[in-house]
């Protein structure tokens, strides 16, 4: 009881220190910015003022809404490919021996290097963006799922077998539950990569949505605007991860996260 209380207290103290650290960082930024031209580093108050600018805010929120479409679609496709494939490869010794070298080799290639290719195949607009999101997300998720599927304790499967569970029933009742912590890890990794892929695609293909706002702000030396978009993308990534973690603690309360 006291141990739990002590752990809670240290956790609360760590959160407090984190908050202080963030606040101090913003103060430091304000101080530093006052000595430097606004073109290079605008103070946080300027960035906030930029956000409050109604015209800019409207553009930003519309762009964000439109960016979410390829993000969601690309993320969904990546999961749809990576999860079944990862389970198949992770559960089968022959499949993993056969295809892991190929996967490792492809994973070693920076996905961004495929951009000229994607232009040839998908053009410069929506399909190309979705394709880049998938390319940047799918292999990272796949690696987590393969590791998870391999991690299922053989004893559990033996129990299933001795109780006469069919392969399908074993997958559904044993592999999937055992895999679920990894599934959430995969979701977290994958979502961060998908956000990354979305903004990358908007900058590297035809500049649209958030990418277009960024490009235009860069050309106008509107550093506050650029910073705002970067912050927004960063917050989107953090928010997504927080939601996934929340879902995990709700759905997998039986699983103690280390």
């Amino acid at each position: 009881m006291t141990a739990i209380a002590a752990a809670r207290r240290t956790a609360r103290r760590t959160t407090m220190i984190s908050g202080l650290s963030l606040a101090l960082g913003v103060c430091l930024w304000q101080l530093m910015a006052s000595g430097i031209s606004d073109l290079i580093l605008p103070p946080p108050t300027d960035v906030l003022a930029r956000l409050m600018d109604p015209a800019f805010f409207a553009r930003l929120s519309r762009a964000l809404g439109q960016s979410l479409v390829p993000l969601a679609l690309g993320f969904a496709i990546s999961l749809g490919v990576a999860v079944p494939l990862g389970i198949a490869i992770g559960r089968s010794k022959s499949l993993s021996r056969m295809f892991e070298p190929v996967i490792t080799a492809i994973y070693a290639i920076p996905p961004i290097a495929f951009v000229p290719f994607l232009v040839v195949w998908f053009g410069l607009f929506f399909p190309a963006r979705v394709a880049l999101v998938v390319l940047m997300t799918v292999f990272d998720v796949l690696q987590v799922i393969i590791a998870g599927a391999r991690d299922v304790r053989p004893g559990l499967l033996d129990v299933g077998r001795s109780f006469g569970a069919s392969p399908v029933a074993r997958t559904r009742l044993i592999v999937l539950p055992a895999l679920s912590p990894f599934l959430f890890a995969g979701l977290r990794v994958g979502f961060a990569r998908a956000v990354n892929g979305t903004i990358t695609a908007e900058l590297f293909f035809a500049a649209v949505n958030l990418g277009a706002i960024m490009k235009r702000a860069t050309e106008n030396f509107d550093t506050a605007g650029v910073l705002l978009v970067v912050l927004l993308v960063c917050l989107l990534g953090l928010l997504g991860q927080a939601i996934i973690t929340l879902l995990e603690t709700r759905l997998l309360h039986w699983h103690v996260r280390s």
Binding site: R97, N196, V230
Partner: protein, 251 residues
């Protein structure tokens, strides 16, 4: 015997599918491996590819090494001190999700498009992964190992060198390997954005009507990345052959 053949069969199947797809789609859309092989020899003969690669890699290496030198100690400190964890963790968590591509326009405003841009991009997109991996290792040191050290009268320095460093070592190696993947990705991203160096070369051959040379350039990136990983693993085994290496999955 059959088990040893399986990876080869996998590679062969992959090449076969690629060859068939390339044949039916044509070299303008997807050059088959048979054509890429010829184009690759041509790329090697011309010399542009390897020259640009060497220059780009040198700049990446500066950023990457800086990221390791700064990120590893920071990760250890964060893993061992609650206060340092509280101070740095929110920043690390924030920067690690910020995409490299989104940072580049901002960094161009700060640094221009020269040498420092590429070094900084490589550094920034590597360092936080190195920190987090090392941090996980430092946090996970078994308390009873430290307790044994203390009860045998080891000093703080001895505990650091004889218990903590050996316990963290596999994570340092993993951090270096994960970091390298990100550093190479960042290098290509930055160079494709400002169209210089190896990334510039990729952009250029993307404009040509043949996809063979483009695939050749991508192939070289793959070889560099795999080779770098192999070297790091080799060095790791050479320094401390008794360690089982951590898996490359991080979350």
């Amino acid at each position: 015997m059959r088990r040893a053949m399986l990876p080869l069969i996998g590679v062969f199947l992959f090449l076969l599918v690629w060859q068939l797809a390339g044949r039916s789609l044509g070299a303008a859309i997807l050059a088959p491996p048979s054509i890429v092989a010829f184009d690759y020899l041509e790329l090697l003969r011309q010399g542009d590819m390897l020259r640009e690669l060497a220059l780009s890699l040198r700049q990446m290496a500066i950023g990457y090494l800086a990221a390791c030198v700064i990120g590893m100690p920071l990760g250890v400190v964060m893993g061992r001190s609650r206060v340092a964890d509280g101070v740095f963790h929110p920043w690390v968590a924030m920067f690690v999700v910020t995409s490299t591509a989104a940072q580049i326009p901002l960094l161009i405003l700060f640094l221009g498009t020269g040498l420092w841009l590429r070094i900084t991009v490589a550094f920034l997109s590597t360092v936080f992964y190195v920190v987090l991996t090392t941090y996980n290792g430092a946090r996970g040191i078994a308390p009873n190992q430290l307790a044994v050290g203390r009860s045998f009268g080891a000093g703080r320095l001895q505990i650091f060198w004889k218990i903590m460093i050996p316990a963290i070592y596999p994570y340092l190696l993993t951090a270096a390997r994960i970091g390298l993947v990100h550093a190479i990705r960042a290098m290509v991203t930055a160079e494709l954005f400002v169209i210089v160096g190896y990334g510039g070369l990729i952009h250029q051959s993307g404009l040509s009507i043949e996809t063979g040379p483009l695939l050749g350039l991508i192939l070289t990136l793959m070889i560099v990345s795999l080779l770098g990983d192999l070297i790091l693993r080799g060095v790791g085994r050479w320094v401390a052959p008794w360690y089982e290496q951590q898996r490359l999955v991080s979350s």
